[in-house]
Structures are given as structure tokens and as C-alpha cells.
Subunit: 502 residues, 4 copies
């Protein structure tokens, strides 16, 4: 079978099936330098970042003889790195790792990161979170030059650019490569001499720097680069700072060095990290996520209050906003919907005969909290709307007298091309319908989204300045800050790549 590169949202649209009605982060990264347990810490870090990708995981370590070791596998971190034998095969004091999100079919092992290559100067491994928007174009040029591609990931473009760079040091080659790519990304790279982190010029995707401390039993000086602070917490590392937009951070035995090849850049951090992607216990760009979500919920209550008996979150992601809404409104918060966590990656496919029962494998109504009540459901977003519709039906069947829905993000009207798996526009409910129509389709008595200004306010910012917005909010506004180069020739050509079964 022939597959096409998954960077276009067209292909990604079917990911996860119609029920999996969320935007999805495409990756998490983790790297550590100078720790006695480098690969084990990396595994723990990736476990803490599991919400950013469940399809596959990979770890590369670098031993003290300068030899690289790797293990990759489909599935969860714990499934792949949960035994002593695998970990014993990953010796050394430096390591990087990667979690991958399950997008479309093409989940060949060869696409699992980190990628590794032998260069003239030695081994080089890289893992990245995000998406290059000119990868297609660069790839064609590289193939024309005689480069052989083995995967369909845009990360491999990076590796080839580093390989053919005429600069001599690894860092100079990496800068050379970064200057040629467009896109939203955070990457960690490892060579025999340093751990390197880099963030795209607008800082769309997150990357933080941490320090392994004396209290965790290791010599001071160990450095960590990872997507979120929750991965620092699990390994007992201290948060130092966010890597800055466009910054390259080099962690080696001399300490931490910062390079800013693009000069100082205005930040356009992804606003959806606050709403849904980041783990509630992470601190993102200086703000604790859980509290932020509660503030968003409170703002939502102020903007669009309605008389009701009970606030019910759509679990798990709607919980903090619902708590904030409840506190602000004074209406009781109850777990009126129970989530079944045993669904996992294999489901019961409903047979035709029982399809009429509705798909309720993940959620069930807690009837005692709902029956005869006016219910406000709080959720973080509406993507295709299919799940929202089913949840409303379930809540009505459990006897709710009224059902109102409140959403802690503005309407998601545009696809993301910056590393988030989103449906194409035609499938985004808010791109096709206004709020009143959506309410009717979903079957609620009222529907409200937080306003864009309300969201900025909850994040402690002034109202959005259209000329200089503080965040990347393209999914709400269509204001794409980074050029969509590949997307423009997407309809003209398709990149064919052999499907090798592994």
C-alpha cells in the first residue's frame, strides 16, 4: 500500500475515528545529560508525557564509550520500557526520548523517533514535537540531490539537512538546518558531546529546561530538556526556565549555553496547550495549568451564566473548568458523568444490532445526580461535535430537565498545521455552523463558548491585539503566523513512498 505523508490535515482527519472527538497533541520529548540513570529517567519523563502521544515511544542513550543504543516500540512507554532487560540495553549518562501520537495508518516502526544517523563526525540522534510547514518542499530538493529517505516523518528532513551541511560543528550544522526549515517545533538532539534543545522562532510548541539536583542523589549539573514541567517533577528535577522562542540551548559538561540565531522573537505560544494539551499539574510559560483552567471556567461563568441545579464536567478534561464555573456561579459541582478508564486502545465495536444503544463505552451517566435537574455540562472544546451530541443524549436519557453546554475555548473554526492533529476544516463543526445551529444539532437548551477576549483575560493578558497577538490562536482565528508552504502545493502533488511492512 502506498501512503502519503501525514503532515497535511487532510490525511490526519480520520485519525482516531469519529468518536475520538478532540484535538490531539502530536508528541512529547525528553532529554537528559549527565545522570547515572539517563535512559530510566527518560522513560519516567516520557511516562509523565504520555498524554502527548500514545502510539509509540523511543529512547536513545549514549554510553561513556561514545556508542549510541536505541529501543523503540509501538504502544505505551510502560509497555516498551517496563523491563530490566530493555533498560540494561540502554546504558550511559545521556539520553533522549520521544512519545508519538497515533495519527493515521502509517505507524511503521521506522517512523518512530528519535531518529538516529551516523555522520562523519559520529552519531547523532534527534526527536521533535511539532510540524515543519515546508518539509515537503525541502524533501523534494534533497531527493533531487541524491538523498535517500527512509521514513515519512518530517524529522528526517532535519537529519539530512544536518548531514549535508558544510559547517563543521554539530551546533553550526543544526543552526544551518534550522534556518532552512519553517514550522512549529521543539526538538531535543544528542551527539557525543552535548544535549541540544531548540524551539521554533515563534515558540509555538513548549520546551523547558530543568536541573537535576543534589537532593536526588546525583552530582549537581545534570540537565534536562523536556516538553512540560510534569516530566521534570517525576524525575525530581528542578525547573530552571522555559527555553525561549528561537533559542538553541546546549547542555554539555561545561554547563548550559544559549544561542539565539534569530535574535529576540515575539512569542506566539500555542493557546490550546492551556486549554487542553498540557497536563493540569504542569506549569506552562510561568502559569500553573490547573489554576488557569479554573480561571477560564470562572470567566466562562461570568460571560454566559444560566440558571441551573448542577454543574457537571465532561470528564476528565472538563473538570477544572467546571470547578471554576461552579465556584464562580455558586451552583453545586457534581460528577454526573462517570468515565470508564478501561476502554484503552481496544474497544468493543458495536454490532449493527446494538448500535442503536449509542456508544457509551467511555462515559456513563450518574443518574442520581442528573435526574430531574437542570444541568450545565462543561467541556473544553467541540471539534466534530459527535461526542458532544452523544453525551447530551445520555444526560437527557438519565432524566435531566434542561441541558446547557458551556465550552472553555472559543469555537475551533480552523485546522492546525503546527503539530496538532485536527480534522480538516470541513469537519470542524464550528467552521460549518453558528452557535445557535450547533446548539440545535447537539441538542442542548443553550450553548456558549468563552470569548477570545475572555480567554486572553483568564490568561492574564489584555484583549487580543490583532496585529501582535500574544498567542498562536490560529484554530480560533485562522491567523497563521508561520507560512503554510507545503499546504499550498498540497493539491498539486502527492509524495509517494513505499509502504514497507515492518
Amino acid at each position: 500500500m502506498v501512503t502519503t505523508h501525514p503532515w497535511s490535515p487532510v490525511e490526519a482527519a480520520t485519525a482516531g475515528g469519529p468518536d475520538d472527538d478532540k484535538f490531539h497533541e502530536e508528541c512529547g520529548v525528553f532529554g537528559v545529560w549527565q545522570s547515572v540513570d539517563a535512559a530510566a529517567l527518560t522513560a519516567l519523563g516520557l511516562h509523565a508525557l504520555q498524554h502527548r502521544g500514545q502510539e509509540a515511544a523511543g529512547i536513545v542513550s549514549l554510553d561513556e564509550a561514545g556508542i549510541f543504543h536505541a529501543h523503540k516500540g509501538l504502544g505505551l512507554v510502560g509497555e516498551n520500557f517496563g523491563n530490566a532487560k530493555v533498560m540494561a540495553g540502554l546504558p550511559g549518562r545521556a539520553s533522549i526520548g520521544h512519545n508519538r501520537y497515533a495519527t493515521t495508518g502509517e505507524t511503521a516502526l521506522r517512523n518512530v523517533q528519535p531518529l538516529y544517523a551516523d555522520f562523519e563526525f559520529g552519531g547523532f540522534a534527534v526527536a521533535h514535537n511539532g510540524n515543519l510547514t515546508n518539509a515537503h518542499q525541502l524533501r523534494r530538493a534533497l531527493v533531487r540531490r541524491g538523498c535517500l529517505f527512509q521514513s515519512t516523518t518530517d524529522s528526517e528532513v532535519f537529519v539530512h539537512l544536518v548531514a549535508i551541511s558544510l559547517y563543521s560543528t554539530v551546533v553550526d550544522r543544526l543552526i544551518d538546518a534550522i534556518k532552512q526549515v519553517q514550522g512549529a517545533y521543539s526538538l531535543v538532539a544528542l551527539h557525543n558531546g552535548a544535549l541540544i534543545g531548540a524551539r521554533d522562532p515563534l515558540g509555538v510548541r513548549p520546551l523547558v529546561l530543568g536541573r537535576l539536583g543534589a537532593e536526588t542523589g546525583r552530582a549537581a549539573g545534570g540537565g534536562v530538556l523536556t516538553s512540560e514541567t510534569c516530566a521534570l517533577d517525576i524525575v525530581g528535577a528542578e525547573f530552571v526556565r522555559d527555553v525561549e522562542p528561537g533559542e538553541i540551548v546546549v547542555v554539555d559538561d561545561q554547563g548550559v549555553r544559549s544561542i539565539k540565531p534569530f535574535g529576540r522573537q515575539p512569542s506566539r505560544f500555542c493557546i490550546f496547550e492551556y486549554i487542553y494539551f498540557a497536563r493540569p499539574d504542569s506549569v506552562v510559560e510561568g502559569t500553573p495549568v490547573y489554576e488557569t483552567r479554573k480561571r477560564i471556567g470562572a470567566e466562562l461563568a461570568r460571560e454566559s451564566g444560566v440558571a441551573a441545579d448542577v454543574i457537571v464536567p465532561v470528564p476528565d478534561s472538563g473538570v477544572p473548568a467546571a470547578m471554576g464555573y461552579a465556584t464562580e456561579s455558586g451552583i453545586p459541582f457534581e460528577l454526573g458523568i462517570i468515565r470508564n478508564h478501561y476502554v484503552g486502545r481496544t474497544f468493543i465495536e458495536p454490532t449493527d444490532q446494538i448500535r442503536h444503544l449509542g456508544v457509551k463505552l467511555k462515559h456513563s451517566a450518574n443518574r442520581a445526580m442528573i435526574e430531574g435537574k437542570r444541568v450545565i455540562l462543561v467541556d473544553d472544546s467541540i471539534v466534530r461535535g459527535t461526542t458532544s451530541k452523544k453525551i447530551v443524549e445520555m444526560v437527557r436519557a438519565a432524566g435531566a430537565s434542561e441541558v446547557h453546554m458551556r465550552i472553555s475555548s472559543p469555537p475551533t473554526t480552523h485546522s492546525c498545521y503546527y503539530g496538532i492533529d485536527t480534522p480538516e476544516r470541513g469537519k470542524l463543526m464550528a467552521a460549518q455552523h453558528d452557535t445557535a445551529e450547533m446548539a440545535r444539532i447537539i441538542g442542548v437548551d443553550s450553548l456558549a463558548f468563552i470569548s477570545l477576549d475572555g480567554l486572553y483575560r483568564a490568561l492574564g493578558k489584555p484583549a487580543r491585539d490583532p496585529l501582535k497577538p500574544a498567542y498562536c490562536d490560529a484554530c480560533f482565528t485562522g491567523d497563521y503566523a508561520i507560512p503554510l508552504t507545503d499546504q499550498q502545493d498540497n493539491n498539486e502533488r502527492q509524495l509517494s513512498l513505499l509502504h514497507a511492512v515492518s
Copy 2:
């Protein structure tokens, strides 16, 4: 390898590892009569009961030609019954199914229920939740008579007793068998003619009767027997009533028939179903579980209030009690501990080097909610105490100024022999230490359990009458209502059974 029968808590003590510090329900059952989608409904019902057993699942169906079909497998319901081909192999309008909890090593497929046998009168399948306390003794007598045993489950004793009974009808044979066994159990059985349910004379384990209604598109008259009401909800069945203690319910094409071979019995329902086992959206013995847990939390707040800044549940089971505690005390409820649901059945085994970091794979502290605060942790029980200790360490490391722990059950001082997987007494923290010592070991500033009378009060009962208690509360009191026949000769002999690798 030779294995011994897992009915003694001695062997069960190591189940799940030291982290899995809870009592565990050992099974869930589901049966349906007269439905076009019998096996599919059974799969859905078992999915809703997945919290009662994750080790293995099995379904038997009976087709319209009177032929039985079966499928069993290790793992979750969705993993085993999640494809059309398997379901197509389970035709018919009647079906029973079973979830099994992961106890010790002996998880051979031959032990997975339902059990099936060919009798002279035709096929017979049975699945049960619970434990027979004289199974060992009965088994020895049956072997002496020439019966061959193929599994190590006490369910097989039932099947042999039915097989050798001199009565002629299936129901009479089943009654004959039930009269010979002691124990706490709920069972569903299927033969060519009826679905049968039975509950032990004291009604220790739960069993409910439901009716498939016209609104779900099926002819009225379909009957369901299952462990909890949440399994009725998922298949759109209407709750009819609890099966009574000692009652046998026969569901056939004529309707529902009730037989009470033991006369009317006083109930001794398992009090721990309210505290932890049942799903929060189930209604148990007439009471919604979620609300009951909130009431227990409120009672706990009244009994043992303490000044604090925040109420933090140990997720997920501690959440409703913590909400009740917070409402009653007026102290804010916050998700100060985040649970990572990706741990699943495979974990990262910490290497020696990182063991000092503490095992925090399932839980992480939400530092922003904890730092500098006086925290009340609310949990449902303390079994070995190992997990509680780690959670307290984690909360302190996140900067809590004080940590108080409140437990929504009395101290668990005795093992259960009635179908619950519990450690032997020597490993129950509350059997070895008083509350003050426990507080010191766990590392909290204060520790309190709800009183037994407080618990009864929260359940809407008068104070416990020692001569006639309303519940089976042996784990708190050592008052074992059903004789522990096997347990008494347990030290003398061991039942050897061949370990056949399947």
C-alpha cells in the same frame, strides 16, 4: 509448577504487588435471556463491570438450536470481545459472562469462567462472583467419589455437584448443590430453557434483576441478571429489583420465577461495596453509591474535623468522600493529586538506581494546589499502608505545610474470605498498629478513620447491633457470619493440582 487453590488469603496476599494497595473485588457477572444481541449485550455489561475484574473475561452464548458457544481470554473485555469475528462466533438470544480479577499467578485460561459442562440433560454454563468457604472439603469428597477436576476454581465444585445430583430438573439439581455449599456468592447459570441467578443465603455479594424494555427496540420480556445496576444502564435495561438473599431467580420464556429454598433470610450485604467496590453510578441495595460516598465523607468531616486550607482526594476512589468532606467542612476541594491513567497493566519497573525517587507512576502532585498549604488527604481505606506513605511523601515534597489523612472506612483489621482479595492479617496495617502508630508510620500530622457507627449512620442505619448487624463488616470487626470451613484445615493440608500451561 504446582499451584494451590487461591481461596486462602495467604496466597492472594502478593497479588498486584506492594503498590496495588487496595482490597479487590474478585468478579463481575452478567446474564441475559431473550435478546437479539445476547452476547453483545453481555460484552457491554462486562465492560461496565470491568472495575470488578480485569484479569480475564469469558462469554458463553446459547443459540436457537440449543447449542452452546464460548469465548474466553486473558485481559480486558474490550481486548477479547472487540471484534466482529469473535462476536459472530457467539450467536443466540441468551448468554452469560464473567470478569475475573487478577489474583496470584495461576491465571491459566482453564480457570476463566463461565465454566461449561455437558450433562445428560444437555449443556450447562455457570459463572460466579464470590468464594465458597467449604469448597476444599467438598472437592476432596468429590475426588474420592471419582470426579475429575480440571480447574482450580471453586466454581467447578458447583458444576460437579449439579452433575451428580440425583434430582432431575436443572433447578432442583442447582438447589441441591447450593444446599451443600457454604460461602458468599452470586451466580448466573444458563441451560437450554432458562437463565438462572442465585445469591448466597446472607446476600453478601450483589445481584440485580433487570428488564430489557420496548424502548430499546426489543420485545418486552427480556431479562438480565448482573452484579451492579451500571451494567443494566449500559444495555438500556430497566432495574427491577435486587435478587434477595438466598433467592434463586429463574428467567425463562414464561417470565421470572422466584424460589427461596432457605426461607426469608436476614441480609448481611458486604459493606465494602458502598465504600469502594461498586461503581459510583450504581445503585446498590436501593442507595446511589456516589451520594452514599459523599455522605460518608460528610460524616467523616463531622467526626474528625481539622483546620486546613484544602481538601485533596486520593484519586480516583477518594473523590466522592472528599467532596462530601469539603462541603461539610467548608474547606475548598482541589485536585491536588493528578492520576496518570496510562499505567495500565505494564509498568516501568524502577531500576535500583532510581528507586530512591519513589514510585510515582500513578500519582503526581499538583504543586500549585499544595505548596505552603495545610492539606487534608481523603482516601477510602488503608490496607498495607505502603501507598499512603508514598503519597504523603509526595505531598510533603510538593511543599504542604501540614498533611492530615482522613479515611472513609473504619480500620481494616481482618482478611476477607468471602470473595475479596485481601492480604493476610499480618500484612494489614490496621491489624498490627493503632491509629497513632499508623499516623507516625505514614508520616501524617493526624490520621482519622470513620467510626463503624458513623459509617452505619451515613448508610442510613441505626448503630451496629452486634447480635444482628445489618451488613457483613468482618473486615472491620472479625465477625465472620459464614463458617470458614476450609480455612480451618488450611494449615494441615494443601491441595495439589497440576499446572497445565495453556
Copy 3:
């Protein structure tokens, strides 16, 4: 799915697919008493007997504490017993094992022998080669009595008969059981005290006794019971004698004891063991098999010589007879057909488009030995005739000027009910057609089978006495010496058994 018991040749008819055009032995057994390496010797013995069954293998060992251990698996002996960990789980100085032939679908692990049961007197394991012709009838009576069957093998009938016997010693119980069964079988059994072997009253299936000697580094006195002498050779055991028809041999620490509950019996040994089943290096009933096959080939040359340029065996089984034929006739013997041994148990299923090429995965013509020559093909038997036809086509396509076929057995006109997997009569080519028609269908210039008397002569016997034949030759004559009890009610009823997927 419901399966029926595979003892009727009706069901077995499709086994192995149309290419697998041979009769098939259904099992091999091996048992050893008093050896330091009992299970390992058993694995080696089963490996030497692999030609008697490739579907599954099982070994039970008995350790010095009297505990039984078992391992069973689908596939070859080497696949199941080829690692140290499995073998370490089978400790002890006594062991029995079994190879199973791949018949129809029902290859559930529960049917793999040895069977094991806990009796009042302790553990008991049994493995058998052959078929009981009244198993069906006995089984019905046992089920009526309340016995529960777990497998579809007739071996389990034995175990139940032993279990319910009123005699007290194991040997007496076994004799009691043997007296109730009809059929052709050789069995080995193990209990805590002895290794027991038994052969049916007519001695249809083979069983030999061997002794482990000092030269193999073990104390003298170790005993072996197995299907063929090639299994004695591989473990360095000395051949003692054939077990006699109807004899029970008990090997214990006191030595070897013989019991003949049926008195002295006339032998009716299976004549097909000489022709095809036994391994060429075995000595069967005092006669080396390889030499016997050569003598049969020589007799065949005398009976039905024809002018030709080359004798070509159908490999591998036709080789010795072809060598005898060549020597007797003076025509050169050449490997004109090459066998590809990599076919194994997975084949390339020819697509529709290439089916016209003919299925030649196992055999290819060695054109240089065939082109322009008059070829005599020598094979051991013609069952359905499908393979013979393809081989003749292949030889003609390689340029043979004439093709004659000579068969080292008489025409196989009847099904076997004594432990051999054969098609039903309607599919046996020789039951439907005379030799001239067969020659025409297969496409040869001439076809001849050895005569029955010629076969007896080659075996050193006088011409067949119809009243008292020296062998069981029912497949050539229809003279069934043992009653076909089950076969007679076969059309009336079918034994239903649940299909448990394992």
C-alpha cells in the same frame, strides 16, 4: 462452534488438505522411569517419534516429592521443549510424553496429551496412541453417571474409568478400565510408584520396552516404554522386547512386571507400520523396517516388472522400496524427483492465476534424470490419488517418454478406525476404481500394486490365512478384527461439545 469427536473418519477426511495424500499415524508415546534426566529424555524420544505426530506435544514429569509437572504446546517437540526454562519446570526421575497428529480443526490445547488427573490415591497421567471404538458409547454412560468431560479425546474415557473404578490399586483400576474399552491402542501411564504400559489385546499399535544402561552414565534399571525403537536409540537405551498384545507392563523400583489380563492373544499388528508409518531405522516386531521396505520393493519388481530406463522414488517415503525394486530389476535408481523440505506447516496458497501451474511446492522434477527416459515411479501407497496425478504430470512435463507407477502396498480400499487418520471410503481412489481406471486417471502407462500375498511374503510370512491373518490389514481387506461399536451409531447421533477457544 461446535465440534464433533474426531474418531470418525468422516470428519478426519479433510485433514491436511488435498495435497497431504497419505494415511497418517495419530500419535507417538514415550515414558521413562528412574533416570536423572527423565523429561529431557522424553523430549528426545518424542523428537525421534516426530513422524508420528506434528500437531502438538506434551510432557508430564513426576518429581521426587511425588508432585506432577506438565508442559504442553501446539507444534513440534523442538518448538515446545527447546529451552532450558521449560525443561527446568519439569523436574524428576520419571516422565511420560506424547506427540499428536494434526487432524481436523479441533486442536485445542485441552486435547493435547498426556492427560492428568488428581485421584484420591494421588496424581495419574496417561498418554495413548490409537483409538477406542466404543469411546462414544462409554462416554455417554459416564456422562449419565455425572462425569464431566473436558476434552474431546477418547483418552479421557480411560481416565474417568480409572477414576470411578472400585478397585484400590492403580494397576487394578487400569485393568478394570482396559476390560471395558474396545479398540486399538498403546498407552503409557504414570503414577507415584510406577510407569505402566499397555497394549490392546490384538497388539494393533506398537509399544516397545527398553532399558537405560550403564554405558549411558545412569544406574542400570531405568526403564523406557515407547512406540518405536528409534526413540530408544536416541536416548541410548537398549531394546529389551516388544510389549505383547494385551500385556500390561509395570516398571517400578523393583523392576519390570508383566500382567496379561486377557491371556495369550493372537497378534494382529498393523501391517501399514511396515509400509509407511514406522521410521526406517526402527525395528518393528523383530524386523528392521528399512530392509523390509527394500524386500517389499524387490517383491514388487518380481510381481510386476516392466521395461524402463530408470527407477525414481517418490521421496521420501518411496525411497527404500525403490532401491529394492532397482536392485531386483537391475534398472538404475536415480533421484529423479527432488523434495523441498522447507514447505513446513505454512505453505504458499496458490492464487487463482497461478493454480494452473500445478502445486509443486514439495516436489520438483530433476529433469536431467527424466528427460527422454522410460520412468518407473515407486511410491508406498495411493490414497486419494491427487498427489500421484500431479507427480505424474510433473514427470511427463520434464520429458519422460513413459511413466509407470509401482506401489509397495495393495490398494487401500477401506478406512481405518484403529488410530490412523484416513479419508472416508468414498474418497479412497482404490475403493472407487479398479487398477486400470486408476492408471488412466493418474495418467500412467501402467500401474501395479503389490499383491496381499506378495506383501505377506516380503514380511516373511506364509500367504494370508483369511481365518487367522497375521496382521491387521483392514485397510486392504475390510476385515475389521475389533468391533466398530461407535461407528455403528455414528449416523444416529452426534456428540456435542462446547468449543472453548484457548
Copy 4:
């Protein structure tokens, strides 16, 4: 784990374990152009070439839209291409395939051929049999240029050389690449427009051209390129001719085109193909292999006759030479050793206790043919000598009065660097010992090898001309016709490559 490239015989020395005491061919190739069943024919062809490699198999097909499809897997051809679904995924009228021999550990799927790459001009797939002797050197230069390697196979060097060539047509690029490599190889390549075959300038490894004919139901004109004629036979293709040394053959819709970039070359075909590698029914360089082996046996009898009672081949490879020896000497040929074909790729690992029994899993003595006799064992070669020693012990234990060994090749005193897996010199018995010593170690009464001149004579050639030998016979003479470039720097450096677990 880091692995080194397996082209040095040092690493290959341990392949297959000490028992697997043969030289091993490292690959078989097959390609077809213009056939309705291209991938299915390729699977059949690879099945016929299975003796050339059992580790892994791969097939690439090219469909009529110009899209490539691939499937690869570890194990036998039948295991990987034995189902309709896989074959349906390989559509098209052109295909190439490859069998890989099991060398050392590094059997990652990424090393399985055919290799495929996207070039500017479109897709390109290649599979080769043989070894490049300057691959290491070329690879270093390519890496220096910025090429990224993904496998450890030297085939990938080819692909990169084609990718970076400045020529424009595929054939010119391939010639450009071939001119830069040294070594012994035969390759098949496929692009959208032609099937291409190429043989190294000395023609060391075999490659034949065939034509699919009208009689097989396809339009005339289909072309096949493959390692041996037995693969033509299985697909019903007609043998056209051997590809010549240094020749490039282009099969496209215009027919067959020949290019000889090296001019006419003297042939140095691998003499061991006659002795052991090729299948007996193949015709190699115009000579049927089976007859050749018989002639070698006859020559061996003339050179080193000895009085004996029986000629016994070491099966299966020694059979034809033994037949030739027997005919020439007049001593009877008997199958005195039986080979057990069920050993497969999983064995019983003998436990320490039974190791003294000797490893006799593959061979057993047919005692009746050996006892009391003077035996001449005929085998094709002695590599390490370990297996020969065990076989002699076994034959003596079966009662042979004398054991003589005759070998149908000269002593193998040198390693092969041209695509054959051989031990390093230090482990070649004939490199360390003279014939008399070898006889003593192996334990025979006499030992003789055919002389080099005798071997040439049996092949119909005059005595070997040391200045211009007709064959590559480096393993007997150390006369390496192709420079061993990599081998020379082998001790200085090691090529490190990341071990990616797949």
C-alpha cells in the same frame, strides 16, 4: 547494542552454532517482468531457492500505475507469503524478491532485501546475492558526503551510488555504481520501465535468464532473472541462458538487451556451487548439478578406493556423490544414516545432564545397515569437523567394524569473502591440520578428499591452470581473484551502527 557489519568472516564465524557445520550460501534472488502473477511467481521462485537463505524473505512489486509495493518478513518464504491478503497487497506485472541467509545476530527487518528508495526519477528496488569487498571503504566516503545509512547491508551502498550518480538514466546510473564496487555479486533491480540483472565481472555468483512461455498461459515475452534454474522450473519458465560475467541484462517491454561495460571477461564461477550450494535439480553453467555430483563421487572412488561393505551418504547433501561412489566402486549404497527433517530452526538444547548422549537430533544411525560392516561415509565437505566427528561416533556406536570417510571436495583451507558464510581460517579444520591428523581427530580409519585436479576433471575441465583457473576456488587455494579491500583495514576500524530494535 552496537553491531558491526557482517561482511567480515570474523563475525560470521559463529553463525548457526557449532553444529551447523557447513558453508552457507548467503542469498537467492528472483525477478520477473511482464507476468500477470508477478509477485506470486516471485514467491514461488524464492520458495525454490529457499536452500540459499532461510532467515528472511522480501518481495517488491510494481503495479501498472507505477507504484511500488513491498512486503518483508523474517522466516521462510511460505511463512511470509503464504496468504492471500499479503499477496493481494503486491499487485502488478513486475516484481523482484530475495531470500536471506541467517548470519549473525543482526537480523533486523531493515536489513531484509529488496531495498527500495525514492529517487528523483521515481522508485528503485534492488536485491543482491554476494558480497562487496570494498563496501566499507565506499560507505565511509558516502557518509562523509552526507549520505545517511539505514541498514548494515552492503546492498545499501549500491543504492546510494545510484542515487548520487550524475548520469540521468537508471541503467547509466547503475553502470556508474557497478564500476565503483568490487566484489562477487548477482543482482536484480526494478524501476518503472525495466527489470535489470547484473553479474560481477568474474561471474562468481550465478544468475540465469528465463522466458515465460505461451504454454504457461501467459503472453510470450515475460522475462525472469534468478539465481538458479530450479526457480525457472517452478514457475514454468524456459531457461534461455546464463547471464555472462560482467553483463548487465535489461528486460523491458521491448525485449532483452545486453550491456557489457567491462568487455568480455574470463569466468571465475564459484566451484562450491557444484559441490554443495546449488540445488541438485538445477543446471549450473550448462551442467546438471545432480549428475555432476555423481561424477565427482565416481572420481573420488577412483582416486581413493578402499575395501568396504557399504557406502553410506551423510544425508542429504552427500547422497549424489555417494551414489556415484557406489556405482564406480561396486559397493552397495545404503541409507545407513536417517535424517530427521523436523529439527527446523528451533532445537532442543541439550541439558548438561544429557549432553553426554551426543547431539543426534538431525541424524540417526540405521543400525541394521551398519552393524558389523565396513562403512564408507561420503560427505561433501569438512568445515569445522565437529559434525563429522559426531557422525563417526554414532556410526561406530551402531556397530560399524570400520569407518572410512570420503569427501567430495578438496580440503577447505581458506575463508570466503565473496558472499558465502564461512568460519574464519582458525576454525577451518583443514587449515589447522593435515589429512592424517584430521582422520585421527574425527576418528575414522581412513580419510580422503578429492584432489583439486580430480574435481576439475569431474567438471569436465583440464587440470587447474594456476595462472588462469576456470573457477573461483579460493576456499581450497587461497587464490582470491577479487581484491579484499575492506578486509585489509578490518583490524584497524570498526563500523559502528545503531542497533534499532524492530
